[in-house]
Symmetry: C2
Subunit: 129 residues, 2 copies
DNA sequence: ACGCATCTTATGCGCTCGCATATAATCGGA
DNA sequence: TCCGATTATATGCGAGCGCATAAGATGCGT
């Protein structure tokens, strides 16, 4: 089947794009800012609004990450003082997470590298829905 | 910048496609065939021609996998009898890898699931170079 | 022939991940 | 009010990954 071959080629192409871009992002963020891509993305979610705190559950929703992995990512960020956990008084099962000032600073810096890598390595025709 | 937003959206879109498809592939292959996506892809490389043996280095080349990860993937496949390592006589640093008959059988079965998942979950407009 | 740089694969190590489960809080029905 | 089902987060555990390095083989210059 020609369609099968084409299907596989599209998948391989998607894989190649993903690996190239995520690899470059990971390396750049790690080398220049000591941040994992996952850590950066988490920080990114916490600085969209201004200092908006969000619940873990809420965060996990739009990140491609398991609940446990997110919990540990927040652990790591918290240990380095980039993020702060706070009780959620309305529902004491929940936990709020917010970026600290240092966290916001680090995010702003890292975002420059992030955008630079995307500009350089994200193929212009990558319209994948 | 509008272009920055568009850039990030394309990246997010690529990420979403990758995660959806690779997740579905992984689950299907694992549940129905007890194979990791990486293991399937390795097996796939070894059954393109007919029973063609290939060198580790050669394999690593077109897979998005570190040399050590490939070595261990071959370990796992070999332990289950799906793959066989053989000395490379011409250059005794090298190692040949070839799929066994059982490996070929398992690959043929798994490939059906693989194609089914791609057909169902790979977005038709995913032309990522 | 010898020694040293190079090349190929294997292995030690630490990291992040997901799954399963534990812990804690909430909610709803009897 | 009390108890079981449900929800939110944390944690034990094992798996796969990449980096650095070890171990083995080659090959070139002298």
């Amino acid at each position: 089947m020609t369609s099968e071959v084409a299907l596989i080629e599209r998948w391989r192409s998607l894989l190649a794009s993903y690996n190239r871009v995520s690899g470059q992002l990971d390396r750049a963020l790690q080398d220049r800012h000591a941040l994992t891509l996952t850590e950066f993305e988490t920080l990114d979610r916490l600085t969209i609004g201004d200092g908006e705190k969000r619940r873990m559950q809420d965060l996990a929703g739009d990140m491609h990450l398991s609940q446990s992995a997110l919990s540990r990512t927040v652990d790591r960020l918290e240990k380095r003082g980039l993020v702060r956990r706070a009780m959620c008084e309305a529902d004491r099962r929940g936990v709020f997470v917010a970026a600290t000032e240092e966290g916001v600073r680090r995010h702003v810096e890292a975002r420059r590298s992030y955008l630079a890598v995307l500009t350089e390595h994200l193929p212009p025709n990558a319209t994948c829905g």
